[in-house]
Symmetry: C2
């Protein structure tokens, strides 16, 4: 509500805690947008091929974090059982660190899988960004090619952040959890950056093992849903659009998609650790960028 | 050359200083790829709509850092004269810091614009990555939406790195310049990270002014080419594919495209500084992601 000329529809949305006035010319749009904030409960997934270009004022796309070209169908056939047997000091350090962290997460969250997701995804989104940045800086100062790996790692971070966005609609973090998230970010960011500087191989191996644990957690979450202990609520519109789910998707489909993403990250990080171990500089496989199947033991794919 | 079965064609390429053996099945490819390293002097730009999908073994795409969907035609009609008049302490700090740095760059590089590009692009690729990462971390711990800004900033960093890749074919850095790059990265990364923590507004304003200087430098480069003091060599294949230039493009077209990118970054960063100054949290305009025109003074675009 404002004293602006009637031709303008004013909406409010909040980013970074700052108020924004998004004014849209009403004459240019058929349907006034009531709420452009992500998570608005309006139209779910618009099939990419049917939607007009986003510059079209009638475009129904509601999201700013991602555009239709960033949506995809998760690879639900991914092998959930892949595991890399720890061999050598680096692998063992990575493996036992993850098991140690798991113990604390299990004690704190127990069966509260929604809250577990909304807290741990904030941590999961850190390694891809740190790794991507460090590779970016290395490629710059060494005048080297990236082989596509920078993009792969940054997209992993973005994907984990989208996981967070999805689970935020499902579980609101408590004040204690918010404080925990801030502390965990400071701690894990420092730790992972240091680890990546000392041994990128160990860092990627650790992320691979973290993702293996994430797959276990999301499988347990699925069990809670299937056995009726957690309500199978309708999927958030963000999830429906991001993963190209059907309009009547529910939490179950969301957890399946999330788990498929975690398996993908597991394979990509294990592959990178294996490549570094084998002293190879292969480029990132095409499947790594396209949510396809990545075999961590297959070089030159 | 190796003792592998004749059905496999083995090529070597180097990423991160590690040797890679990329084996391609010869029966699956019509044309054996002799050299998959970026910068190979083979077929230039394959129009995106005509090329088969990259998973097709006959795909002619040679690059790993970017795929056809990441190529674009630069907006050569962008307004090169846009300037933000410094108002207030933050703007003045940004402006005079840039002028100070310019003095040193001018003294060191003088008319060697190819070398200037290949050194300064390593510095230019830092702010987008730092800003993107800090926003990413902030969004995670505050459970906030990004409005698309993380992607915009990370793509700016990627674009500057592509500039580096392009100019590497044109000017090989001297050993002194390589040492300078490493020192400059350590210094600028620390400085910019600190600045971003204290005042993101000043940081973005500074990048806006740096880009204004970059536009001046590339305009001077163009003058050297047009007045015959620098040879107008054929454009590197990487540049032709990345900017969708014609197959007989030359250095002139490359510099024009680079300059258009710098103008785009200028506008995006000045816009972001203006938004922060106005205490607004508008999402990133669609044009920011699509190399379209961005007016730094127009909010809610
Ligand atoms: Fe995740
Ligand atoms: Fe994950
Ligand atoms: Fe640049
Ligand atoms: Fe630039």
């Amino acid at each position: 509500p404002s004293s602006v000329a009637p031709a303008l529809v004013t909406t409010r949305s909040t980013y970074f805690g700052l108020r924004a006035l998004n004014t849209q010319s009403q004459t240019a749009r058929e349907t006034p947008i009531q709420d452009t904030a992500e998570g608005s409960a309006e139209t779910p997934y618009q099939p990419v091929k049917d939607a007009p270009p986003k510059s079209d004022p009638n475009y129904p796309w509601k999201w700013n974090s991602f555009l239709p070209e960033h949506t995809y169908k998760p690879n639900l056939n991914v092998n959930l059982k892949r595991h890399v047997q720890p061999t050598g000091l680096s692998d063992r350090f990575a493996y036992y660190t993850v098991k140690f962290l798991r113990f604390f997460a299990d004690s704190f969250f127990r069966k509260r899988y929604g809250h577990r997701a909304v807290v741990l995804e904030t941590v999961a989104a850190v390694p891809g960004m740190v790794g991507g940045m460090m590779l970016h800086l290395q490629c710059l100062r060494r005048f080297q090619q990236s082989g596509g790996w920078i993009r792969v790692l940054l997209e992993e971070a973005e994907n984990e952040r989208m996981h967070l966005m999805v689970y935020m609609s499902i579980a609101q973090p408590t004040w204690l959890e918010r404080a925990l998230v801030i502390t965990a970010q400071a701690g894990f960011f420092s730790f992972y950056t240091l680890l990546y500087t000392i041994s990128p191989k160990t860092a990627h191996r650790m992320v691979g093992y973290l993702e293996e644990e994430a797959i276990v957690s999301y499988t347990e979450y699925l069990k809670e849903i299937d056995e009726g202990r957690t309500p199978n609520i309708p999927a958030p519109p963000l999830a429906i659009d991001y993963w190209q789910l059907g309009p009547d998707a529910h939490l179950r489909e969301v957890v399946l998609a999330t788990r498929a993403d975690e398996a993908h990250h597991r394979d990509v990080n294990h592959l990178r650790a294996n490549l570094i171990k084998a002293r190879r500089g292969d480029p990132a496989p095409y499947a790594a960028l396209k949510h396809g199947d990545v075999d961590p033991h297959k070089f030159g794919a």
